[in-house]
């Protein structure tokens, strides 16, 4: 098996504000990230797929199919957006990068089979960097089946 990892980027704004907490508690918990007008990041995501190498193409993953999938499901809907205002999921949950990682992983999982109809490749993990210093990872091993 080979693991193939491709990096993608998008820029979006968010505001961390939990509806179940008071204004003061939110300010205390999230600090600057609670600024009512929001703020933005250049997110970088690494998508890792696993599969055997096809003898004819020498590839384990059709990178054009992967790029189409990630563009349609993730980069298109999230790039240059306000996560709080523009993404349905974050009407009810806080757009922390933990929750964003879950959302991205779910989007890719749900659309995976239409992009890759065969047995292989499978989605192994998604790694998302909110900044170069804050990195989150979710994958097969972390998802309750």
């Amino acid at each position: 098996m080979i693991r193939v990892t491709q990096k993608f980027r998008f820029s979006a704004s968010h505001r961390l504000h939990a509806k179940g907490l008071s204004e003061d508690a939110n300010r205390e918990l999230y600090g600057k990230c609670n600024n009512p007008y929001g703020h933005g990041h250049n997110y970088e995501i690494e998508v890792t797929a696993r599969g055997p190498v096809d003898e004819t193409t020498g590839r384990a993953v059709d990178l054009r199919a992967l790029e189409r999938l990630v563009t349609e499901q993730v980069v298109g809907p999230l790039d240059q957006k306000s996560l709080n205002a523009d993404v349905a999921e974050f009407q009810s949950t806080v757009p922390t990068t933990e929750n964003l990682a879950v959302e991205i992983y779910q989007r890719l999982t749900q659309a995976w089979r239409s992009a890759f109809p065969g047995e292989w490749p499978v989605l192994e993990k998604v790694r998302i960097a909110e900044t170069p210093r804050n990195i989150f990872e979710i994958g097969e091993a972390h998802v309750q089946k």
Binding site: R3, V4, T56, G58
Partner: protein, 138 residues
Amino acid sequence: MLITKRVEFSASHACRNPRLSDRENEELFGAAANPHGHGHNYVLEVTLEGEPDPVTGMVLDLKKLKELVQDEVVEKYDHRFLNFEVPPFDRVVPTPENIAIDVWRRLQPRFAGNGVRLHGVRVYETSDLYVDYFGESA
């Protein structure tokens, strides 16, 4: 414990399968099928697994590791047109997947009996695309 050595090499390749027609290759690989080839600055990470020696405090002397990777891989690949100059890429398409497998085959036997084991090979074709190979069983 895992230790990783990173090296770089620059090489050209064409993503073409010699058993397919020009048209099939173009459909499959797009611009990367250009028969004149194109190049990358590849980055290779070689990761070994072992325990630090109680006397030297090292899993494997990094100088030795560097020499091994240099001899087995960098000397063979660097500033070469992989399809024409580096077997098995006369028969096997030099995708990063196949490069990782070839690097593994070149290196894996060299660590046998050293008290260390080759854990993984990572090949970056660009900073945005890399593959990992952990051997046939993983």
